[in-house]
Symmetry: C2
């Protein structure tokens, strides 16, 4: 088939799959924000039906024919497709290959198992009983191993799953980085401990009325550049960002009236994701490329704003007066330096989602070790709790009192999301690498942050990262921006600098 005609057929298939995915995303958003409780069963059916339709578009004969045709010819096509069009086609080929890789019977089996397993995980966590979840976990691990076989890999079965969330990522690349990161983190934690410094966090846990918190957080993300004419903010039990178009990006947050951090940093984090989605080229609408380059790159954008910007001392030179206008009595007399120290306390803790910037990665490394060994068959499901507790003792120096605060704390395994956890730490490493590149390109960044002038920073992120959506692979994107391959160096240096500023110079 003539390349331009084939390309337009690709676009037409992608339009259908993409519009279905947008509808599925809206069904999901609504479920978490406004859906009446009795509607859960019907909603699950609707999402399942539309998901099956999107899957059948990508596994159709015509999709496979187009993908195979282009896979053989794309590198030889010259001039007939633009570079942009070729990138769109590559995304299409990858999506078709991923959809085709799993037999229908396997997809149905996995859907059934994970639906039940999620319910059982909830019960098991509530009762802190690993035994309740043990059989499900065993089935889920077997499914993950089977999925790795279906998807294929050249070195390690875990590679097949890592690649789903982080295209091109392998155990071979990741293990040494995580090893060095773990070592460096231990050294930082030792230094923090030795300092004897314990910043006062009490200002964070005054009473902050919900409505005021939301107003303050909205003001701040608006200053970051989140476009409310092309997005909105709602409440949900767990914060998330979703989008149905570059012009329709939804953030959610939750509010704790006795903790200033939950709503504020939560919404800044989600707005970081949201700026990525709003910053993609409008041409990506209706294609399957209107996605982050990877989960790790997406997370780098939320963490860039949440941590690198909003947990900097400069940020609080600007943001503290903004917050003080909403909370004059609670924040009376507080200085940016005090706030900076309070929100950057480094302290080993049990729950991943409550961890600070530095110790957080240890939580990921624990999960990485366990997932990798389960996948390669060098650890049994029954060994998980003990392994978890041992690793927590080794890496974080704390004791796990029960499985609810240990290996049962996260939902990911119950929905079959093996290979997902590393994205969180990759996001931190990418963010630190992008930070260095940004600071080199624009040395005035700290000053801009201190004045609340975020537009040049956002524009740099948009030009460098956001606009491309999924048309660039993470490694290509990182190389373009930083000239380097992924490493932990920038993050470790950034962490040391921060720890020194708070703990060393006190």
């Amino acid at each position: 088939m003539e390349p331009q005609r084939a390309y337009h057929e690709v676009l037409s298939l992608m339009r259908n799959a993409s519009d279905l995915q947008s509808a599925i995303a809206l069904l999901g958003w609504d479920q978490e924000t406004y859906m009446p409780p009795a509607a859960a069963a019907a909603r699950a059916e609707q999402i399942a039906t539309l998901s099956a339709m999107a899957h059948s578009i990508l596994t159709s004969d015509s999709a496979q024919r187009l993908a195979e045709g282009f896979a053989q010819s794309l590198s030889a096509i010259d001039g007939e497709l633009s570079e942009f069009e070729k990138r769109i086609v590559r995304v299409f080929i990858r999506q078709v290959q991923q959809a085709v890789a799993l037999p229908e019977d396997f997809v149905r089996r996995k859907a059934r198992v994970t639906t039940l397993a999620q319910e059982r995980w909830k019960q098991a966590r509530a009762r802190s009983s690993f035994a309740l979840f043990r059989d499900d976990l065993a089935t889920l691990v077997e499914l993950a191993r089977e999925e790795a076989q279906h998807r294929g890999y050249s070195q390690h079965p875990y590679d097949a799953l890592l690649d789903l969330y982080e295209p091109g990522m392998t155990v071979h690349m990741l293990s040494p980085i995580f090893e060095r990161l773990s070592q460096a983190t231990r050294e930082i934690l030792d230094a923090v401990k030795a300092s004897g410094v314990a910043p006062d966090r009490s200002i964070l846990t005054q009473h902050y009325p919900a409505q005021k918190q939301l107003e303050a957080a909205r003001t701040i993300i608006e200053a970051m550049g989140f476009d409310f004419s092309a997005g909105r903010v709602d409440l949900s039990a767990h914060p998330f960002c979703t989008s149905f178009a570059t012009a329709d990006v939804r953030l959610t947050t939750r509010i704790n009236e006795h903790d200033l951090r939950s709503c504020l940093f939560g919404l800044i984090h989600e707005a970081g994701h949201g700026l990525y989605e709003q910053g993609m080229r409008a041409e990506l609408d209706g294609t399957l490329a209107r996605e982050g380059a990877s989960m790790g790159i997406h997370e780098s954008q939320s963490l860039f704003w949440e941590n690198i910007i909003a947990r900097s001392e400069e940020f609080w030179q600007w943001a503290l007066p903004v917050l003080q206008s909403h909370f004059p009595s609670q924040l009376a007399g507080v200085t940016p330096k005090q706030m900076y120290a309070a929100i950057n306390v480094v302290e080993p803790s049990l729950i991943r989602i409550e961890a600070d910037e530095v110790t957080y990665n240890m939580h990921i490394i624990i999960r990485y070790h366990i997932e990798k060994q389960l996948l390669e068959g060098s650890m049994t499901v029954d060994e998980v709790p003990e392994q978890w507790n041992t690793l927590t003792r080794e890496l974080l120096g704390i004791e796990v009192p029960d499985d609810a605060h240990g290996c049962l704390q996260d939902i990911h395994w119950s929905f079959g999301g093996y290979g997902y956890f590393p994205s969180y730490t990759l996001g931190k490493l990418y963010a630190a690498m992008f930070r260095r590149a940004l600071f080199e390109a624009m040395p005035e960044v700290p000053e801009l942050i201190g004045q609340g002038k975020f537009a040049p920073i956002r524009q740099w992120l948009k030009d460098s990262i956001h606009q491309w959506g999924r048309t660039l692979d993470p490694a290509e994107l990182v190389a373009r921006i930083t000239g380097n391959a992924l490493s932990e160096h920038d993050f470790v240096e950034y962490a040391w600098q921060k720890v020194w500023r708070i703990y060393g110079s006190a």
Copy 2:
């Protein structure tokens, strides 16, 4: 094919089409309630894509084969399908026939024309310039005539369009009913005029704070039995009811702080629709039968609650104290009788959606005459404004000052909704017929209303009407409940009684 196997294939096709329609309905609901403004274009694309998919399911070879097979065999199938299953199959056959009737080229043409025409109608109404809309209207009428040819009819082209909204309805049935209703309405209006009575409406236009209005209206629809665990209420520019499952029914309302009626009666009206949707058998979920028997029957349910219940004097014996607890100063000293008179003022006016119960039908009869004549070709598009003004003078005794208050006031023609208007009056006639049947079955109804005990009334409506969804035709439903065919008698008698109570006995 063996009937049960064919039936299950029908169910499977309907599941896909129905889940797509639920997603389309959610996309539409979100657009009117929460969608950020910049997302309009992407949303239109998404709805168009999913609508085309739903259409292609119903026009697929397998759907047509199943529909044709059953159309030939259904009456002969005995015992192999239950009565319920046969009714579901009939709904499927009708849906397939309707989907297949229009050539794809026509569907695309109509979509393009109506999209542009709606924009132009908005401009034309804003400037009160029929000339601006004239050419679009001409194209739209031609499309409606073409659609009637595609759909087919035995007597009058308008029948083909009436049948879309009111299965089985024809000009032959409707014209004499509308003629008698028009005559009776004129007599009632003469009596009202002659009475010289003018009830005081000033209590309705005090200042009623928005939040309190919403709370009061929610309290009242909760008492009616609207289930908030399977539904919710939001704000939108134009009130509507939509649903994505029997357990997920959404109402919207709007609030005018200087008119107590807008939010209250608007929400009671939508809750009447909502109770219909919540009252359908759960087995109808995932089929195409989870719809009202017709637009007229659906409207009968909203009008039953809005007018027959909530505009009765008994209702205000219960509801006035409820409202007074929300608005103690505004409603101090008001009696149920005063409220009853204020909300039931009969007075000819120009705008359909602001008309009272009695004059409202005249607005519909005007539109019916014009649509019918446009369809049969006995009136040209250029004659519409003059015809409109003449009919308004004849039927309502008032002069139309400009087209914005005349033939440009409604959106329906611009989206190609010819044949829809009669549903509104049919709803009134059905509601009055159901009222008589209910009062005969349960003579204690007025007393129950006065006590705010709506559960037995709701249950009667559910048993008689709601549970069936679209599995019964309107004529069959009405005959089952009332023993009669559609007529205007009950409505005319009901209107005379009310007018006598307010204007005659004063």
